[in-house]
């Protein structure tokens, strides 16, 4: 897992067209990474990477990052070299004060490394001020003000802030390393090519003994192994330099060859403070970046959705195919009877028991010699018998709320062969005083229009 895989996943998620089914199938088939979200994302990316359009965004990004870094490293190295040379140059009047160089290779690094440690701790907050004051951040900013081609895609790339902070932190370490190397090279180069008279000087009241113990404290990492790389009290005494007074300059001149010994201490100080410690910090920032990448994986746009698609069962409850849209026929039945006659040859009730049928007839003030129930619990034979003895004009009560079935239509059709007129009268429930609802009559009208028989009338 690295920045590249992060970016590949980023672009994959942006272009992805996989269906939830495919994602779920992936989740189910990759059992070894189950319950390990990051591994799942990585596995998914490996399997889909081929879909990415070339050139890869990650490659473009890495190569840009690489070339920017390289430029910065080169610049830092040159800066280190130049400042080293500057610090070590003998201007002809005064010897080279080791304090300057020491601060450059010991105190400045210690200070910036402390800042770096702080910014590492704070890197998780979205905007770390400490990151913004990093030289890498600003150098990069300046570099990019120079005109150059950037890929369109890179323009819109949104790197997780946490990740961006760690990238800056890590690269600041590399740049600082390059700078320190510059200093070290300058030191070695100057020592090799010139005869430098080192001295130390301070306005503060520091005795050579005091200074010595301070220096040997600073030299604690190497003093036991390389005692010659710690200046002796003698050397310190000999190289103390006061701006005013010539007594010591004589002594210095006589010991000129010894004064060069300082370089060993300076070289070790550079190596340890500016390079080794910085390198450790670099390793630390690499670990930090790794962890940031890990965390950023999950906050990538679309990653959460991908994971939930992979890990949650797809539940579907609906029908396989859509149903043909039902179209209601608008035809209204034209054979409508507005009122009832006073008497009929026969009153029938479709699924209406006989006692109830007579009550209905009475309430409608209809007289008929006979009442029969048809349909309902009757057998087909019983219905047939009724059909056979029917004649003339028939009043046929039906329950308005019950939908007319084909059973009813069959009966009606058979009946038309024996009679002259059938008035179908949908009635409501007893509780509704047999009054039907408009909507219910419409249903009957529509059904009767499928039969469309001139003998059949609808009372509404």
């Amino acid at each position: 897992m690295n920045l590249r895989s992060y970016l590949d996943l980023y672009s994959l998620l942006q272009e992805d067209t996989s269906t939830p089914e495919e994602r779920r199938a992936f989740g189910l088939s990759h059992v070894t990474v189950k319950d390990k979200p990051i591994e799942q994302l990585l596995a998914w990316m490996e399997e889909h990477r081929y879909q990415l359009k070339k050139p890869l965004l990650s490659e473009a990004f890495s190569s840009t990052l690489y070339s920017v870094s390289l430029t910065l490293v080169a610049i830092a190295f040159v800066l280190g070299l130049l400042s080293g040379i500057g610090l070590l140059s003998y201007n002809g009047h005064e010897p080279v004060n080791v304090i300057y160089f020491m601060s450059m290779v010991i105190f400045v690094p210690l200070f910036t490394m402390t800042l770096t440690l702080f910014s590492m701790l704070r890197a998780n907050s979205v905007q770390s001020l400490l990151v913004h004051i990093s030289p890498a951040f600003w150098m990069e900013r300046l570099l990019q003000l120079l005109p150059h081609k950037t890929q369109e895609d890179l323009k819109n790339l949104k790197v997780n802030p946490l990740l961006a902070n760690w990238i800056v932190i890590k690269r600041s370490q590399v740049i600082a390393l390059a700078f320190s190397f510059g200093l070290l090279c300058a030191l070695l180069g100057m020592v090799a090519t010139k005869d430098i008279a080192f001295a130390w000087s301070t306005t503060l009241h520091v005795t050579p003994e005091g200074f010595h113990s301070f220096l040997s404290t600073l030299a604690f990492p190497w003093r036991d192994f390389f005692p010659w790389a710690v200046p002796s009290v003698e050397l310190i005494e000999q190289s103390q330099y006061f701006r005013l007074g010539d007594k010591l300059s004589e002594e210095m001149v006589s010991n000129a060859s010894k004064l060069g010994e300082w370089w060993k201490f300076l070289a070790f100080a550079t190596l340890f403070y500016a390079i080794i410690l910085r390198f450790l910090l670099y390793l630390l920032s690499s670990v930090g970046l790794k962890r940031a990448i890990r965390r950023s994986f999950l906050s990538l746009e679309g990653a959460k959705k991908l994971l939930s698609d992979m890990n949650e069962p797809i539940i579907s409850t609906h029908a396989k195919q859509n149903e043909a849209v039902f179209r209601q026929t608008e035809s209204l039945y034209s054979n409508v009877a507005d009122s009832l006659d006073a008497s009929y040859d026969l009153v029938l009730g479709w699924a209406i028991p006989k006692e109830q049928l007579t009550v209905i007839s009475e309430s409608m003030k209809v007289i008929a010699p006979r009442h029969y129930e048809v349909g309902g619990a009757n057998t087909l034979e019983e219905d047939n018998e009724v059909i056979h003895l029917s004649h003339g004009e028939i009043l046929l009560f039906v329950k308005a709320w019950e939908p007319p079935t084909m059973d009813f239509i069959d009966f009606l059709e058979a009946l038309t062969k024996y009679v002259d007129k059938i008035v179908v009268y949908p009635v409501g429930t007893m509780q509704e005083q047999y009054r039907p609802r408009e909507k219910e009559i419409d249903v009957w009208a529509r059904k009767l229009s499928t039969l469309n028989h001139k003998k059949v009338w609808l009372k509404r």
Binding site: L28, F61, T64, L65, V126, Q127, L129, H132, E140, R141, Q144, L145, T150, L154, K155, N156, L157, K158, V159, P161, A164, I167, L298, S299, E312, P313, I314, I315, S316, T317, H318, A319, K320, N322, E323, A324, V325, F326, A351, P353, G375, G376, A377, N378, T379, L380, K399, W401, E402, P403, P404, T405, M406, D407, T429, Q431, K439, V443, R446, K447
Partner: protein, 479 residues
């Protein structure tokens, strides 16, 4: 016959025409495409509604046409009378012999799934009186020998369920009531539990399905809250820009960006509503609702003027840019990461926008002159009430969609109940929400975790309103 394949439970919803069979299926299968109408004979073919988990069917529901010639079928069966253990074979014979007889199309469609092993769910309308004409149907179902239960639906207010229960009791071991139009998740699950009881070997697969179904509902809530959280965040933080040729904005340009901004917000809301409807399987919802309002956003009267009054809450600012601020030139790594520089500029613009009118912003315009292009910018949303209005509407919409029966086919009017605000928002909730809204407004990049927490908060609100004890009623359709 390969009987081994279909070991999962099947259920056929059958009954008289127009008694709500399709409505019950639509509700149980959460399918809003089922054809439902008050004309009998709407359903003409059997239709399968599998409950699938990762492609595997756990149980299957069938919607069927209603009985049309029950007496004729029964007469045929009775002519071939045999001992009870052979009766189902006679039914099969009937199907085989009448396969191509259009007369019995509906009966065959409904009998087929039963003969293939489906349990019977016999639907009647308990709001209309019982009649003897139902007996033929129930008798036929008895001939199939399949386990069965009866469901009493109430299409109307009237109640005849007592007489229905007495009659159904003779034919069915189990008689339950279920209203597809008003059933909630609890009713839904309770019916599934009854269905599981039809056959011993169905108990565990149906129980497993119930568990999955509950998770599914839970996830719908979760997804909805995520979508709503994102809506509020994006709407509050979105920035609309309009490039302008000079450093002076004309009235049309100001109007234009204002319109663009409003439309953008409305579109965001619209898209979110669509997503929510999809989550709840209401892809075909037809609705009416008032547009997102931008006037009189005085929900809490703290800022009583409307946001678009051009003074304090005027968010119209002129800002300036060049490649130096936004292009890739400035920063590869930090695009999308508020830059120190960007943040500082944002802060200046923000404070100016909040405390001064439009004219006072000329300072920024001068900055623009030196840097390059000019544009008008609107957003992030400064009005404090806006997120509550948006959130309230989104919650209301989600609750209505979540509660809506999949059997309804009308147009729903989503105009918000005026008392709704008090039902979801109290002072302490407002305080916790405000913390998030403040972050959204800040214009800074938001940590994923913050949005997550906000979503969780919304999920709690939704759970309170939608869950079993959820107090809100579903809205009636308008016609």
């Amino acid at each position: 016959m390969k009987a081994a394949i279909s070991t999962y439970p099947k259920f056929a919803v059958v009954g008289h025409p127009n008694k709500g069979k399709s409505s019950i299926v639509a509700s149980l299968a959460q399918d809003d495409t089922v054809q439902i109408s008050d004309t009998p004979g709407t359903t003409t073919k059997k239709r399968s509604f599998p409950f699938k988990v990762d492609g595997k069917i756990l149980y299957e529901l069938f919607d069927t046409p209603g009985f049309q010639r029950a007496r004729k079928v029964l007469a045929w069966l009775e002519q071939h009378d045999v001992s009870a253990n052979k009766k189902h074979e006679v039914v099969q014979q009937f199907i085989n012999q009448h396969k191509n007889d259009p007369q019995f199309n509906d009966e065959i469609e409904l009998l087929e799934p039963i003969m293939e092993g489906a349990g019977i769910i016999y639907v009647v309308d308990g709001s209309r009186p019982y009649g003897e004409e139902y007996e033929a149907e129930m008798e036929i179902l008895r001939w199939t020998g399949q386990p069965s239960m009866a469901l009493i639906n109430h299409i109307d207010e009237t109640d005849y369920s007592e007489e229905w229960k007495r009659a159904l009791g003779h034919y069915f071991r189990m008689v339950r009531t279920y209203n597809p139009m008003s059933a909630n998740i609890k009713d839904h699950i309770s019916i599934l539990e009854s269905m599981a009881q039809l056959k011993e070997e169905w108990i565990s697969p149906v129980k497993a399905s119930i568990k999955l179904f509950e998770n599914y509902q839970e996830r719908m809530l979760q997804k909805s809250s995520e979508v709503i959280a994102k809506l509020v965040y994006v709407s509050v933080s979105v920035v609309e820009k309009l490039p302008i040729p000079s450093d002076e904005a004309s009235d049309e340009e100001k109007k234009k960006i204002e319109d663009n901004y409003k439309n953008r917000l409305r579109r965001l809301e619209e898209d979110t509503q669509k997503k929510i409807e999809d989550i709840w399987n209401h892809e075909h919802l037809r609705k009416q609702q008032p547009l997102l309002p931008f006037k009189g956003m005085d929900l809490f009267s703290e800022e009583s003027a409307s946001i678009f009054g051009l003074t304090r809450k005027e968010l119209l600012v002129t800002a300036a840019t060049s490649g130096a601020i936004t292009g890739a030139g400035i920063d590869l790594l930090f695009a999308g990461h508020t830059l120190l520089l960007g943040a500082a500029a944002g802060a200046v613009v923000g404070t100016v926008g909040a405390y001064f009118g439009f004219n006072e912003l000329s300072e920024v315009k001068i900055l623009g002159k030196t840097l390059g292009k000019h544009y008008l910018q609107m957003g992030p949303m400064e009005n404090r009430n806006f997120p509550y209005i948006l959130l309230g509407r989104a919650i209301w919409h989600t609750v209505q969609v979540a509660k809506r029966s999949h059997a309804k086919r009308g147009v729903v009017n989503l105009a918000m109940d005026s008392s709704f605000k008090e039902r979801w928002l109290d002072e302490s909730l407002r305080k916790s929400l405000e913390n998030y809204h403040k972050k959204f407004r800040s214009g800074k990049e938001l940590e994923a975790e913050v949005l997550n927490e906000y979503g969780k908060l919304i999920q709690k609100i939704l759970e309170g309103l939608i869950g079993n004890e959820g107090s809100l009623k579903q809205l009636p359709d308008t016609h």
